[in-house]
Symmetry: C2
Subunit: 571 residues, 2 copies
């Protein structure tokens, strides 16, 4: 299907927007009126620029407060039609009236829209009438369609906007009542579920399909059922996108439409990872001692690179002597089809990483995540580069999850990347109080829970450490804590006694937790024991033990952990 | 009255919070549980620290989901009482139950609260029961009071929270039905009027009294009517405050209580400025030419400092050769009582600026605004330092308003400063689309409109120029524009033709506006003509003409102006 985007969805001047939109591979654009008004180029030049860039101008928008008025005003519309002729746009979006003067009279609305369509037809222009979710009298998409049908003019149709439909809780299945040729345009936006005024929600929190909570594939399926043959067009108002890099946002929008199309065609996500193969950490020599204390052993060295393999049970960590401060730089995922996974990632516009390798080394497929973390798709061949000995046995059994702090204006992009490229499903989203701000956090995992990720949103403005961590699954956190406390107490993040006073008021727990600095949570499924190491560079380790079917990440304890980290749990 | 603040209202560790709160002059604190849990100090040490700092611990909070439960749980409460004994706190806040298990039964709630109060009394502790605005069954303050009265225990009273009362639209006059001795505590927070879920509103957007839209003085007056003798205590949850400087936020909270007390005592704002005396600009020699083109003349030089006076009609601008790039550095306000105005500002914790002066120079009273702009309170004596000639006659008659861009985390502080220190009243608040983000803007003015200010909020994160501007009132903007276009066209900000196509579609306007680059707006009172110069350094000038009773600032045109400025209207 053709792919389009409204210019309001990205930041910059109109020229910057058009160039970025074309570079991202879109076929067309909706020109948002304010972008045109603020542009120093005359409409003819904008038309030529779009044509040079290979972009069709699919719609000019919005035209407000027209229908169902006490007196018909065609003068303003005539001006816009002349402008659209200069611009080469032949479809005008008319939003349902929000004016207090508007009359609640469908026949009047239909009559005035019919007159508008007649006048538009003289200019070769068609009218797409849309119900705004906050329209004064018309705010349901079926109501707008009723008026369009009543007006009965070939150049008048309806425009559907997923936000206006789904934000009101309307069922999109009614779309199938509309003949496809009367749906003149389809605008798509997702949004997180927020309990707020719908106008504010729309103007600040829309996002690209797959970044929010709406079922866009279901809505689009109903639209396609009607025979609609127009473009899928993104129309997003988002405070972060308004400030973010224009080209990057446009590419992210394109990624969202590619992923949506794949969903529509019932393409199951082709290559869902089966687990964590490894986590790779930049190191300057300070991490080995800590890993040793956790029971890891160095079980291999890379044949040609300054990379060591440390392993225990099913957990494998690579220490890469890049010279940079300790940080998580790459994640290896066990993939049933590494080449297919990389190809899928590339189809979703993820940058494929070049991989220099010595003649005998394993071929590794890798892409860059939005924050620069390298994501490797692995079969077992990579281990051959390390000639590893057997992993030592211990209580650590594998990697439970990896937590990455995202730059604040790329949080939605990262969520879409992990969802569309890796097939992770969004779980809980939280806001956690930190002594110096609120931390937003979003958990994602594969359906089987073998790959779990936590995305944290870096604080805006305030000085802030982009911590990352690797959580290691352990079948005896208490034993691990005893050993660390005895052998290497300085590596444990100190947890305040006051936490345990409160914990013991809430739950009956083993008094040894307090002595060991082990944190505790439970949900209706089971229990969660966890402890933290101090931070080295940007990175720390969490040791976690899930019992029963506990599904969370101990979020209730995160404020305690964050405060302890700020208080100086660094090395 | 005693002044208190909840530790959650400011950022930092508990130790940092207590130190900052004491330094700001508060008498007491509410200890917020999460702050204590995350603190490595035992309760006895926290108690000693507060005592050393001269702070009483007025309340420990919150204790949640206790009353009207199927089974009474006093075990958790007992733990908290023991903690409070160690902490030296004798008042516990119990919030109305939000648990789905809570039963809608006032008698059960009263009975369980009475048992809690009995147990508390054994520890010398009292219970303050508060209706959360989102409580499951109890969410109105009078309902909480009904239950407290039903329980009828001397150690059980109610806690009133202005946010929980006013956010629901409840009338605070009902407070006068409660005997003062049964109001155990009063928490104060203001908030902007937002159409959103009350829980989200409360957790992210509370602010200090005077920064939002609630009538706190009216509510507190009703509380005092009852004979309440406890503290005024601030309890604010605000995303910005969580990230801002601890000491600065605490001082701002204290300022809000001082201003609130003055309102309560019916103290009219003592010294409202009568107009703009001058605006002072840092300059490196580039502004004089522009001012000359606008019809200003240099009419004086400071006796001892490198400062020139440029004047026209009632508008006076000082150019200060500080060597810094052009920027607005000071605002002079005509004051009926400069010393009184400075004293009032100082009582509101504004930093009074030292003023070195030569023996013969006028004494000038000045304070620093939150963004560092110097605010001078003037009578006519300051002009003596410049031995000015008569101002030239021209079409510019005075300073209409001054617009300042505020650092993003000090926007609320600035609004409170201009309201409490200068007596300005908040007018419209707007969000204006800029090519690279949304710009928040708040207008304020004296009641007579002689001093108008616009506070703009700097973008978060994105690269951004903290523009400031001086808007000059003119009685012939068209004539001014003709002259500039003829004599100095490069000094005019170019306005796109597309703007005029739209303007002419909306209004019948003089076609010459397009040629001259003059912008237009109107409201129900009158019309507004305005034009902009290009930006020099951080500063630009706007020339405005109000006809009829137009009250706004041409906000509808701001996106056009912002885009033109980004497009390169700099010199």
């Amino acid at each position: 299907m053709r792919k389009s985007i409204a210019t309001v969805s990205v930041s910059g001047t109109l020229t910057e927007k058009l160039e970025a939109i074309a570079a991202a591979g879109f076929d067309g654009v909706e020109i948002f009126e304010n972008d045109l008004l603020a542009c120093p180029l005359p409409p003819e030049r904008i038309r030529a620029l779009a044509a040079d860039l290979g972009l069709s101008i699919d719609m000019y928008q919005p035209f407000r407060d027209f229908e169902a008025m006490p007196t018909l005003d065609l003068r303003r519309a005539e001006r816009k039609f002349r402008l659209m002729e200069r611009l080469g746009a032949d479809l005008l979006l008319v939003c349902s009236n929000v004016s207090p003067q508007a009359i609640d009279d469908d026949e009047l609305a239909a009559e005035q829209l019919r007159l508008l369509a007649e006048r538009a037809a003289d200019h070769g222009i068609r009218i797409a009438y849309e119900a705004l979710a906050w329209g004064r009298h018309v705010n349901e998409y079926l109501h707008a369609w009723r008026i369009v049908r009543m007006a009965d003019h070939p150049d008048l149709g309806t425009c559907l906007d997923s936000f206006h439909i789904l934000s009101r809780g309307s069922d999109p299945i009614g779309i199938e009542a509309i003949p496809g040729e009367k749906i003149f345009f389809l605008q798509l936006a997702d949004a997180p579920l927020l309990a707020m005024d719908v106008l504010q929600w729309s103007r600040h929190y829309r996002c690209f399909p797959g970044q929010g909570n709406f079922d866009l594939a279901g809505l689009v399926a109903s639209v396609l059922e009607t025979g609609y043959a127009g473009p899928l067009s993104l129309e997003v108002f988002n405070d972060h996108f308004r400030q973010a890099d224009t080209g990057r946002t446009a590419r992210d929008g394109m990624r969202s439409l590619i992923a949506l199309e794949a969903d529509l065609h019932g393409v199951a996500h082709p290559v869902v990872p089966a687990g964590f193969a490894f986590a790779e950490l930049a190191d300057t020599g300070s991490l080995g001692g800590l890993l040793g204390a956790l029971g890891f052993a160095r079980t291999g060295r890379h044949a040609t690179k300054p990379v060591e393999l440390w392993a225990q049970g099913g957990a494998r960590l690579l220490l890469n002597a890049t010279g940079a401060d300790p940080a998580l730089i790459a994640i290896g995922l066990d993939s049933p089809d590494p080449a297919g996974a990389a190809k899928h990632a590339e189809s979703l516009l993820s940058p494929v990483l070049p991989r220099e390798r010595a003649p005998k080394e394993a071929r590794l497929e890798a892409v860059a995540a939005p924050d620069g973390t390298e994501i490797f798709f692995c079969d077992d061949a990579w281990l051959g580069d390390f000639s590893p000995s057997e992993p030592v046995a211990g209580t650590i059994t594998g990697i439970d999850h990896v937590a990455l702090t995202q730059p604040w204006h790329h949080f939605d992009e990262a969520a879409l990347f992990y969802r569309s490229v890796l097939g992770l499903r969004p779980q809980e989203s939280l806001e956690l109080p930190d002594p110096y701000g609120l931390l937003r956090s979003k958990a994602m995992s594969t359906q089987d829970g073998r790959v779990r990720m936590v995305l944290n949103l870096a604080q805006v403005g305030a000085a802030d450490i982009p911590w990352q961590h690797v959580a290691l699954a352990c079948d005896d956190v208490i034993g691990m804590a005893r050993r660390l406390r005895a052998e290497r107490p300085e590596s444990l993040l100190p947890i305040p006694d006051n936490y345990y006073d409160d914990l013991e008021a809430r739950h009956e727990v083993d008094p040894e937790l307090r002595h060991l600095g082990v944190l505790y949570d439970r949900d209706e499924h089971g229990e969660f024991l966890h402890l933290y190491t101090v931070t080295v560079g940007r990175v720390f380790f969490e040791i976690v033990q899930r019992t029963g079917g506990y599904q969370g990440y101990g979020a209730v304890n995160a404020p305690i952990r964050l405060a302890a980290q700020h208080a100086g749990g660094h090395h």
